[in-house]
C-alpha cells in the first residue's frame, strides 16, 4: 500500500492486523488498542527482537492519558478518523506528541486531502489517504498555505512562531 510519509509517497511496510487474525512472527505490525490491552505480553515479547516493530491503532474516543505510560513500547501510533469531519484525532495527536512520542504518527481511515495540512500541524507525519482518492493530488495539500498563524507541534516548512509574536 502506498502512503504519504514525511510529505513523500512511499510503499508502506507496516501490516494492519485485524483483531481476529493471527499476528505474524516477523514484520512491522499495527494492532488495535484493544488487542494491545489483551495481548500486551505476547506483543512485547514479539517486538523485543527489533526486526518486528509494534504499532498501535487508537480509536478517537480514547483518552490519550491512558496511552501515556505505554508510549515507549510503540514505534508507530495510528489514529483513526472514522469520518473526516470528526476532528477528535487532531487533539489526540497533539496530546500524544506533547507526551513526548517521537515515533511515526499516522492518520488512518477517512483521510482526505483537505485535512492533511491541519493533521500535519497537529503532529501527524504519515497519512493513509482514502483509497477512493488520488494520493498524488493529496500531496498538494502541503503547499497550499505557506504561512500559519500559530505555533504547532511539528511545523516543517514554516517558521515555528505565533503570528502575534513575529517581529
Amino acid at each position: 500500500m502506498r502512503i504519504i510519509r514525511n510529505r513523500k509517497i512511499v510503499e508502506d511496510g507496516w501490516i494492519h492486523v485485524a483483531d481476529d487474525a493471527e499476528v505474524p512472527a516477523d514484520g512491522d505490525v499495527i494492532v488495535s488498542w484493544k488487542r494491545w490491552r489483551e495481548s500486551r505480553e505476547a506483543l512485547l515479547a514479539r517486538s523485543g527482537s527489533g526486526s518486528a516493530r509494534l504499532g498501535v491503532r487508537l480509536p478517537n474516543t480514547l483518552d490519550p492519558h491512558e496511552v501515556q505510560a505505554d508510549l515507549p513500547h510503540f514505534a508507530l501510533i495510528a489514529v483513526e478518523f472514522p469520518k473526516y469531519r470528526d476532528g477528535r484525532g487532531l487533539s489526540i495527536a497533539r496530546m500524544v506528541r506533547r507526551e513526548g512520542f517521537r515515533g511515526e504518527l499516522r492518520a488512518v481511515g477517512n483521510v482526505l486531502r483537505d485535512q492533511l495540512f491541519y493533521m500535519e500541524r497537529c503532529g501527524f507525519d504519515a497519512f493513509e489517504v482514502d483509497k477512493s482518492k488520488s494520493i498524488e493530488n493529496a500531496l498538494e495539500a502541503f503547499s497550499e498555505l505557506s504561512v500559519t498563524y500559530q505555533d504547532a507541534i511539528q511545523p516543517r516548512s514554516v517558521p515555528r512562531q505565533h503570528r502575534w509574536r513575529r517581529s
Binding site: D63, Y84, R85, D86, G87, R88, L90, S91, I92, R94, M95, R98, L112, D114, Q115, F117, Y118, M119, E120, R121, C122, K133, S134, N137, E140, E144, L145, S146, V147, T148, Y149, Q150, D151, A152, H162, R163, W164, R165, R166
Partner: protein, 562 residues
C-alpha cells in the same frame, strides 16, 4: 485598527487560491457535495434557497472606509446591489455564483478581508462591543485581545473540525454588555481583581439555538498572559468530549450541561495545567504591541461637549433633536460623540445596505470619523469618532441617504434574520414581520414613549435573530406548511441575561403583530412610571398578566398555574 503586513496578505491570497482549487475539484466531480460542504462552509459559503450566500468576516465589527467601498463594489459587480449585515458583525451577499466566489475573495484580499471561518464547525468571527475604545464605562479596550484571539483561532489546526460551531465574544463594559457575551460558547469579560490586576472572567457554554443557555462562569479570574492557554484548554476538552452523535446536542453548552459545570471546570483546569506554561503564554509586551494598532485616532484637543449634546437634544429641529437623543452616544473623548446609523429604515430589510449607500457611508466615515466604522450585533453601523459640533451636519447627510431613522434601541430597531425568504433552514419568513411591525409602529413619539424595548425575530429555532433574548421575541415555526409565530417575552442579552418565555400557542401570520401590540399596551398600563423600562415591568409583574392579555379569551388548560 489592525493592518495587514505581507504575512497576513499572503495568507488571505493563498486561501482564495485554495478555495478556487476546491471549487474546481467540486465541479469536476473529484469532491462530492458531502466532502465539499465543510470546505466551502469554512469559507463562509452556503447554498441557500435561491442561490449561494457568501458570508464575509468583519473581525469584531471593525471596518475601514476602503473596505466598505470594496464591499460596495462586490455588491454591484457580483451580487444584486446590496449586502446584509448580520448579528455576528459580519456581512452576507445573497446571490453570488460559485465560480465568482474565488474572484470575490481575491478582491477582498486586496483590502485585508476574507471569509475564513465565517461558518463551519470551527472558531467563528470574534465579536465584541461596538463601542470598544470609545465607551465611557469601558475598563480596557478589548480589541487587542480580539485580534490576538483571531490570529490564534485562524486555521487553528486542532480546532478545524469541532463537534459544532464555536463563537467567542469579548466585553469590557463596567455596566453594560453590548456584545451578548453570555450567549457565546466562550464569553470573555475584561475585569480587575481585588489586587487591581487586569484579567478575564471566562464564561463557557452559552448559546441560543434550540436550547438557549446562559453561559456559566468557569473561572472568575484568568490573568492576562493566560487568555489563549485557558481558551485552548476549553477547546481541547470540548473537541474531545463534545457530542458528535447528534447535531442538535453538539454545542459546548450541552457538554457543560451534561457533565455539570463543576466537572467540566475540573477537566479544563487539568488541561490548563498542561497548556499554561506553553508558548501560548502572552507577554505583556506582545499585548502592548497589539494595542498600538488600536490606539485612539488623532483626536483634536477639544473642550467637553456633554452640555452641547444636551442642547442639541433639545434643538428646535425636532427631527434632529430626536436623532441626537436616540442615535448619539456619549464619547469618552472630550468634544466627540458616537453616531449610530440605523439600518432599520423605510422599506428595506433590517441590516441591509445598498451599494450606493455603502459608498456614501464610506465617504462619511472619511470626512467625519477618521475613515473607520463599526458594525453592531444589532445590525446597525457606527461612526465612532464624530465631533459633537459636526453632528447636525452629519445628520443632514445621513437623512439624504435614508440612514437617519431615530430609532436606535427602540422597538423598530429590530434584530431580524433573513428567514424563509432566503434561508435554507428557516421555517417561516421574518423580514415581512419586521416590515409589518415597522408600519404598525411608525409613530416615533409613541416609540419614544415606550422607551427602549428590544424586539428580535428569528425565522426558525436556530435563533439567528436572537429571539430568546429580545424583551419581545418572535419565533417563526411551520405548522403543516403554514407559517406561524411564537411570541416570547422577557429576554435580555446583557449582564442581567434572561431567556424569554413562550406564554402560549403560536399565532398565525396575520395575528402576530396584533399580539405584539397587546403586550405593549399592557406594559404601558402596568409600568410604575414612564421611566420604568419594559423589561423591569415584566420582571416586576411576572408573566401572568402578559399571558392573560394574549390569551384571555381562551381556555389554556395546559397552563394550570394561571
Amino acid at each position: 485598527m489592525y493592518r495587514y503586513d505581507e504575512y497576513d496578505r499572503t495568507l488571505v491570497r493563498e486561501r482564495a487560491a485554495q478555495l478556487r482549487g476546491q471549487i474546481a475539484r467540486r465541479v469536476s466531480g473529484e469532491l462530492t457535495e458531502d466532502e465539499f460542504k465543510p470546505l466551502r462552509l469554512q469559507n463562509g459559503l452556503y447554498l441557500q434557497l435561491h442561490a449561494y450566500m457568501l458570508r464575509i468576516a468583519i473581525p469584531y465589527g471593525m471596518l475601514a472606509s476602503t473596505q466598505l467601498r470594496k464591499l460596495a463594489h462586490i455588491a454591484r459587480t457580483y451580487d444584486r446591489g446590496y449586502g446584509h449585515f448580520t448579528t455576528r458583525q459580519n456581512i452576507q451577499f445573497n446571490w453570488p455564483e460559485l465560480e465568482d466566489v474565488p474572484n470575490i475573495l481575491d478582491e477582498l484580499a486586496d483590502v485585508e478581508m476574507h471569509a475564513i471561518q465565517t461558518s463551519g464547525n470551527c472558531i467563528r468571527n470574534i465579536t465584541t462591543d461596538h463601542l470598544a475604545g470609545v465607551a465611557r464605562d469601558e475598563l480596557e479596550d478589548p480589541r487587542p485581545f480580539c485580534e490576538i484571539t483571531r490570529q490564534w483561532s485562524t486555521f487553528h489546526p486542532e480546532f478545524a473540525f469541532l463537534p459544532r460551531k464555536f463563537k467567542i465574544a469579548f466585553t469590557a463594559g463596567r455596566e453594560v454588555d453590548r456584545a451578548a457575551m453570555l450567549y457565546h460558547d466562550i464569553g470573555v469579560r475584561i475585569v480587575e481583581n481585588a489586587a487591581g490586576e487586569r484579567g478575564f472572567s471566562i464564561y463557557a457554554g452559552g448559546g441560543m439555538g434550540r436550547t438557549p443557555v446562559i453561559a456559566k462562569e468557569i473561572r472568575e479570574f484568568v490573568p492576562r498572559e493566560h487568555l489563549l492557554s485557558y481558551m485552548e484548554a476549553i477547546l481541547r476538552v470540548y473537541n474531545r468530549l463534545g457530542r458528535r452523535d447528534n447535531i442538535f446536542k453538539a454545542r459546548i453548552k450541552i457538554l457543560v450541561n451534561e457533565t455539570g459545570i463543576e466537572r467540566f471546570r475540573e477537566m479544563v483546569e487539568a488541561e490548563w495545567q498542561e497548556t499554561r506554561e506553553s508558548t501560548l503564554r502572552l507577554a505583556e509586551g506582545e499585548i502592548q504591541e497589539m494595542a498600538k494598532f488600536f490606539a485612539p485616532p488623532s483626536y483634536e484637543s477639544l473642550s467637553p461637549s456633554d452640555a452641547l449634546l444636551a442642547e442639541l437634544r433639545r434643538s428646535p429641529n425636532a427631527d434632529f433633536a430626536r436623532w441626537a437623543r436616540n442615535n448619539v452616544v456619549l464619547h469618552k473623548q472630550p468634544g466627540y460623540s458616537v453616531a449610530m446609523l440605523s439600518l432599520k429604515a423605510s422599506d428595506t430589510p433590517p441590516g441591509d445596505l445598498s451599494d450606493s449607500q455603502m459608498d456614501a457611508v464610506a465617504d462619511l466615515a472619511d470626512r467625519y470619523s477618521f475613515g473607520e466604522l463599526r458594525v453592531t450585533h444589532t445590525q446597525n453601523l457606527v461612526l465612532a469618532d464624530v465631533k459633537t459640533t459636526e453632528l447636525e451636519k452629519l445628520w443632514h447627510e445621513l437623512r439624504a441617504l435614508d440612514l437617519a431613522t431615530a430609532n436606535v434601541g427602540r422597538l423598530t430597531d429590530q434584530i431580524c434574520c433573513p428567514g424563509l425568504d432566503f434561508c435554507n433552514l428557516a421555517n417561516a419568513r421574518s423580514i415581512p414581520i419586521a416590515e409589518e411591525i415597522r408600519h404598525r409602529f411608525d409613530d416615533l413619539d409613541y416609540l419614544d414613549d415606550l422607551g427602549d424595548v428590544s424586539l428580535k425575530i428569528s425565522g426558525c429555532i436556530n435563533a439567528c435573530g436572537h429571539h430568546h433574548v429580545g424583551n419581545i421575541g418572535i419565533l417563526g415555526i411551520d405548522k403543516r406548511g403554514i407559517e406561524h409565530y411564537q411570541l416570547l417575552v422577557g429576554g435580555s442579552s446583557g449582564y442581567d441575561a434572561s431567556i424569554g418565555k413562550i406564554l402560549g400557542h403560536a399565532f398565525p401570520r396575520e395575528e402576530i403583530v396584533g399580539a405584539v401590540e397587546k403586550v405593549l399596551k399592557l406594559y404601558v398600563r402596568l409600568r410604575e412610571s414612564e421611566d420604568e423600562p419594559f423589561l423591569d415591568t415584566f420582571r416586576r409583574v411576572g408573566e401572568k398578566p402578559f399571558r392573560d392579555t394574549l390569551y384571555s379569551n381562551e381556555l389554556y388548560a395546559d397552563h394550570p398555574q394561571s
